[in-house]
């Protein structure tokens, strides 16, 4: 916390800009109609998922492909708690986040010793299983017909929802900023850069990967719980791979491994998706082209680019653009306890 305050003070321009963006987003609904507010509100769902994925994939180097599945688990677990157990909606959302965290702990146990592509495949297989289970158990979940769930607020007005999503997004952003400056944040980045060296420095790599996985899945589950009670209808399609792809697109566009990248990228991607609403096929072509463009031309993304520009203006040598490389591979250690 002290470290965070110190860096906020030492970088007044960045702090000011950040604060200005937060204030702007808080005032945004005043200039929007109901429909537009709803669109931006759903953009925050992607912000939350983007932050949760960036913690894991960006800062810790664990390229999970199950973030959307944990959001879906949050949605359905919350629905179950509300519909079957009669919990109030906020209680259901907490249950959704906890369920995602517990399943995240389990999946982490199984997959976090795997490396790179195998970890990605393992998490992707899990996500597909979630989608299929929700789809085939239609006597419980109503399958693809969709499961109606109660709304969080009694009003259909999107404004209160906007502020709930906004607040959770900013809390997640703040949590991310704090974590990066704690020992956990140092361990995460060390694990991403070189697992063998992290181990030799006394870091229990498997344990801390698991901790980050649980934080990340809890956050995704929280986002999913909120989403369900804002939309009022759940569907197994929430666990479709295209949803994960959208998270990746948003984060890469905004800036993989940057604090504000998921915020900027998710809101931008949401706006773009809305603009391209008329044609679903074109939507993905445009997104695919954009991601290829960013990765080819400028891997650090929008926020990575701004950070480098700022360094250059301050007359510092720019940091290597390698921060955009998605998966860090370090040599495989032989010993059982070392991943």
């Amino acid at each position: 916390m002290g470290e965070l305050l110190r860096s906020l003070r030492d970088q007044p321009l960045r702090t000011g800009l950040g604060a200005a963006v937060v204030v702007l987003l808080a005032l945004l609904p005043l200039g929007l109609n109901g429909y537009q507010t709803q669109v931006v509100m759903l953009g925050y769902f992607w912000v939350i998922l983007g932050i949760s994925w960036n913690l894991l994939a960006g800062y810790t180097g664990q390229f999970s492909l199950a973030q959307h599945a944990f959001a879906t688990i949050g949605s359905y677990a919350s629905a179950a708690a509300v519909l079957a157990l009669g919990l109030p909606v906020p209680g259901g959302i907490v249950v959704g986040a906890l369920t995602a965290a517990v399943l995240g702990y389990g999946l982490g146990w199984v997959t976090l010793r795997l490396r790179g592509i195998y970890f990605a495949i393992g998490t992707w297989a899990f996500a597909e299983s979630v989608r299929i289970l929700l789809s085939v158990n239609y006597h419980i979940t109503r399958g693809d017909a969709g499961l109606p769930v109660p709304f969080l607020f009694a009003t259909p007005d999107p404004f209160p929802y906007y502020y709930v999503f906004f607040a959770v997004s900013m809390l997640a952003l703040g949590l991310n900023a704090v974590v990066l400056r704690t020992k956990l944040g140092y361990r995460m980045r060390a694990i991403r850069d070189d697992q063998e060296l992290a181990v030799a420095s006394g870091v229990d790599v498997v344990k801390w990967k698991r901790v980050v996985f649980v934080i990340s899945t809890a956050l995704a589950g929280l986002g999913g719980g909120l989403y369900g009670h804002a939309i009022g209808l759940l569907s197994p399609n929430q666990a479709q791979f295209s949803q994960m792809a959208f998270v990746i697109i948003a984060v890469v566009l905004g800036g993989f491994r940057t604090l504000w990248g998921p915020v900027v990228g998710a809101l931008l991607a949401q706006g773009l998706a809305e603009a391209l609403r008329i044609s679903q096929e074109w939507r993905f072509v445009v997104f695919a082209a954009l991601v290829i463009l960013v990765v080819r031309v400028y891997p650090p993304g929008i926020m990575g680019g701004l950070a480098m520009l700022a360094e250059r203006l301050r007359g510092r040598p720019p940091r290597s653009p390698s921060v955009g490389t998605p998966v860090a591979e370090t040599p495989i250690a032989e010993r059982g306890g070392v991943p």
Partner: protein, 245 residues
């Protein structure tokens, strides 16, 4: 207080497939002494360091540090016991700054100090090693020699340090940096009372730093003792030196 040797290896063996990389090594190391370890390429020096630091598991034999058996411990627990190492291919956390690299050992699981309390020490260590002008540069931007130096600087941030394992730390390092590295090795040895096991091919540096040396050949530990005495043995001359020194 524990008396006697700091580290005892008893018939330590490691195989890779059919090949025996370390073959029944028995040796002991006293606290506070700087040891040299020489031997031709492929004689098992790096493998021995990987075994002591827990990166590899032994196939047979025992490794005992003070009163702790190390064979079944996980690699991250070695730092808590005071075993600190560098890598032959120098390693750094490339995307992190030099200061952050130095603070990383403080984020080891066994450490209780806060990061902010150790910042001052990190700055002092950077100054001591002459890397202070690069404090906020990402480690990926360093040259190979500077990365070697950073590995040693990071060792200074460890706590405790009882045994420092250095795997060819001078390879490819410019003379000016080499001087600073030697000063740092001496400092860790004296300040912390740490034993050092220094793998090197450079007899001049070994002579300058090491009280005793060990020699390996084809995975075996073939000699140990004061440099002059060991270097005179015929089997050492034949295996490694080629000619008397």
């Amino acid at each position: 207080m524990h008396e006697g040797p700091l580290l005892r290896l008893d018939r330590v063996t490691k195989r890779f497939g059919g090949a025996v990389a370390v073959d029944g090594v028995t040796a002991s190391f006293d606290p506070g002494v700087i040891y040299g370890l020489i031997g031709p390429n492929g004689s098992g020096k790096t493998t021995l360091i990987n075994l002591i630091s827990g990166l590899y598991e032994v196939d047979a034999g025992t490794i005992v540090l003070g009163e702790h058996h190390l064979e079944k411990r996980l690699a991250h627990q070695m730092a808590a016991l005071g075993i600190v190492r560098t890598f032959q291919m120098p390693k750094a956390f490339g995307s992190m700054t030099l200061v952050e690299n130095l603070l990383l050992p403080v984020a080891g699981d066994h450490r209780r100090e806060s990061l902010s309390n150790q910042r001052g020490r990190a700055g002092e260590v950077l100054q001591h090693t002459g890397l202070d002008h690069l404090a906020d540069a990402p480690a990926a931007s360093l040259s190979g020699g500077q990365t070697m130096l950073l590995q040693l600087a990071r060792a200074l941030m460890h706590e405790p340090v009882r045994l420092l394992l250095l795997d060819e730390p001078f390879a490819g390092v410019a003379p000016a940096i080499k001087e600073r590295m030697m000063a740092t090795i001496r400092r860790i040895n004296q300040e912390r009372g740490a034993a050092v096991l220094l793998v090197s091919h450079e007899m001049t540096t070994i002579r300058a730093l090491c009280e005793r040396i060990g020699v390996m050949n084809t995975g075996r530990w073939i000699a140990e003792g004061p440099l002059a005495e060991v270097a005179a043995r015929p089997e050492v001359i034949e295996a490694y030196l080629g000619k008397p020194i």
